[in-house]
Symmetry: C2
Subunit: 329 residues, 2 copies
C-alpha cells in the first residue's frame, strides 16, 4: 500500500506554523440540533476563520514553506472562490507578491475582496480571463513560467491538505474524542487533511464526506475505485463544484473516509436557515453540506458524539438574502 | 446619595447562579472593525446566548432566587419579545409554571418559540390579549393575584439587572481592562448591570449607552435629570422601543453611564450587513446599537480598547432577509 501524501506529523507541523496567524475558531453547540438528531453535535466554525473559510489554513501552510527565492518571486493561483482570497491574504502576510487568475465575469465583490487582500503588496495583481475562450490552466502555467512564480493548486498539494487538517485537529483537541466527523467534499483537500488528523486523535472515528447531489464525483470514484471526472455540477454549493478529486487527496479518502453521502440544494438551504435562525450564524451553501446530511437525516448518529466542519461563510449578501427569502415562500 | 439597586457582589452572585446554565458566549474580533475605527474592538456575542439574547441571564437569575412557595406557584411576565422567551425557558429549567401575556397579533414565530420553551411544564401557558382594547398590566396583575404567581418585569428588577451585568463581567474577565464599553439601551436593565460590573472590574472605564434616534428617552432623561416618558418610538430596534427607563435602572445610569448617543435605523441596517458579511453573524437590529455607534463614527475611540455588547440575534428570518436585501438596493 503506497504511503499517503500527508501524515499526522505534517498536520502537527502545520498547526505550529498557523499558531497565532490563523484564528482558533470557536466550536459551537445547539440544543435544537442535539434534540433533532439525538446526537451530541459539535460545530467547528470555520466561517469565523480569517477571510471567512478554512482555505486560509492550507494556503498559509503552503506559502510559509516557500524557499527565500520562491518568496521573492511570489505565488500564483487560479480561483474565483475562497482559495483566491486565502492565497492573496497569506501572500501579503508573508510579504510576497501574488497573482490570482480569475474569470472576468467573477462577482464584483469577489474581485474587490481579492484585490483588497493584495493591497500594499508590490507585484500583486488579479489577472482576468474569458472563461469561454481561454483556458485558465494555460494562462496560469504561462504566467508562472514567465515570472518564475510558484503555482499553488486549491487542494491537490500536500501542504494545503496538511493545513486544512488542522481544523479537525483543533476540534478534537477542544471537545475530546468523537464517534463521527462530517466534512464537505469538493476536491478533497479539507476532508483528506481532516481524516488524517481525526484518525490520529480519535482512533475508531468514522469520517463521512458530504457532496451535493448534483456533484457526487467522489462518491462515484469511491464506488469505482478510481478518480471519476464529471461535468461541472449545477449546485448552489459553489465550493463543491469540482469535477474530480485529486491525485493526492483521493488515496487518502479511499483509505480513511468511510463513505460519501449526498444532499440536495433544498437541504442545503434548509440548513442555512437553521444556522441563521437558531445559531445566528451565516454559513455559505458549501459550508452547510456536512450539517445538512445530519440535520436532514441523510446520516444518522443517534447517541453519538459528532463533529461537523462548517467550512465557510462567504456568500454574497444579496444572494444570501434571496436564498433565505426563497426558503420561506 | 442613595444606594444603587445592585452592587458588584450581586453580579458575582448572579454569575455563580448562571454558571453551567447560561452560555459563556464567545468574544469575537474583526480586523476590518479595528481598521475602520482605529480601536481594538471586542464584541461580546450575546446573540449566541441561550434563546438568542442576553435576557436569559437576568430572567434565570431572578427565578433562581424564588422561595419554594414562589416556585410552586410560578412566574408571570408580559412581553412579546426576548423577555418572554427568557422567562419561559428559565421557568422550565427550574421546574416551575410560567404564564406569558402576549399581544394576540404577535408574530406566529414568537408565539411558537415561547410555547416551545413551555413544553412539558404543567401550568404553563401563553395568554393572549388585544393590545388595542385591553391593558396588559391589568391582565398581568389580575392573573398574578388569582394564581399567586410572581410577576417579573423585563428590566426594572434588581435580580434581572444583576443577571444582565454578568455579560460585561465575562467580557472583561476574558479580554482584560477596557477603555470604553458600548451598550444598547432599552429600559436600562442591560446597561445598568453592565455599568456596575464594568466599573468594578475595569476602573476608569467609560460606559456609553446607545439608543435609536427615534427612541432617545434615556438621553433626554439624563439631560433633564429625571425619567422622561415618550410615545412608543418607531424604529426597527424593537428591543429598544421602551417608553422610559426604570425607577431602579435610571439612578444607576445617572451615576455610572457617561452619556447616551443615538443612531439611525439606516445605521443599524448598515451594521447588520457588516456583521453578516464580515463576521458571519446574525445580529438583530437592537443588538446592533452599540456597534453601529462605533462603526458609523457616532462614537470615536481611536487607540482605545473597546468592548461592545451584541445583545441578541432574534430576528424573524423573512424580515432579516428583507432588511439585508433592502440595504443593497
Amino acid at each position: 500500500m503506497p504511503d499517503l501524501a500527508i501524515s499526522p506529523a505534517d498536520i502537527q507541523a502545520a498547526a505550529e506554523r498557523l499558531s497565532g496567524v490563523a484564528r482558533r475558531t470557536p466550536v459551537l453547540t445547539s440544543r435544537t440540533a442535539d434534540e433533532r438528531t439525538g446526537a451530541r453535535v459539535f460545530f467547528k466554525c470555520e466561517n469565523f476563520q480569517r477571510m471567512g473559510a478554512f482555505k486560509f489554513r492550507g494556503a498559509y501552510n503552503a506559502l510559509a514553506q516557500f524557499t527565500p527565492e520562491q518568496r521573492r518571486r511570489g505565488v500564483i493561483a487560479f480561483s474565483s472562490g475562497n482559495h483566491a482570497q486565502a492565497i492573496a491574504l497569506s501572500a501579503r502576510l508573508l510579504g510576497m507578491p501574488s497573482v490570482i487568475v480569475m474569470p472576468q465575469d467573477s462577482p464584483a465583490a469577489k474581485l474587490a475582496a481579492t484585490r483588497e487582500y493584495q493591497l500594499g503588496q508590490a507585484g500583486s495583481e488579479v489577472v482576468l480571463y474569458d472563461r469561454y475562450t481561454e483556458d485558465r490552466e494555460v494562462i496560469g502555467a504561462r504566467l508562472a513560467g514567465e515570472r518564475g512564480m510558484t503555482l499553488i493548486p486549491p487542494y491537490d498539494h500536500a501542504h494545503v491538505m496538511a493545513g486544512q487538517g488542522t481544523a479537525a485537529a483543533e476540534l478534537i483537541e477542544e471537545v475530546g474524542p468523537l464517534d463521527r466527523l462530517l466534512v464537505c467534499v469538493g476536491g478533497g483537500g479539507l476532508i483528506s487533511g481532516c481524516a488524517v488528523a481525526a484518525h490520529a486523535l480519535s482512533p475508531g472515528i468514522r469520517v463521512v464526506g458530504v457532496e451535493p447531489e448534483a456533484g457526487n464525483d467522489t462518491q462515484l470514484s469511491l464506488a469505482r475505485g478510481e478518480i471519476v471526472h464529471i461535468d461541472t455540477p449545477r449546485t448552489i454549493a459553489d465550493g463543491a463544484q469540482t469535477q474530480h478529486s485529486g491525485q493526492l487527496t483521493f488515496p487518502v479518502i479511499q483509505r480513511l473516509v468511510e463513505r460519501v453521502v449526498t444532499v440536495s440544494d433544498e437541504q442545503l438551504v434548509s440548513s442555512m436557515c437553521f444556522f441563521a435562525e437558531r445559531m445566528k450564524m451565516v454559513v455559505e451553501p458549501t459550508g452547510c453540506l456536512g450539517a445538512a446530511a445530519l440535520l436532514e437525516g441523510v446520516e444518522t448518529a443517534r447517541g453519538e458524539r459528532v463533529g461537523v466542519i462548517l467550512s465557510g461563510g462567504n456568500v454574497d449578501l444579496g444572494r444570501y438574502a434571496g436564498l433565505l427569502a426563497g426558503a420561506l415562500r
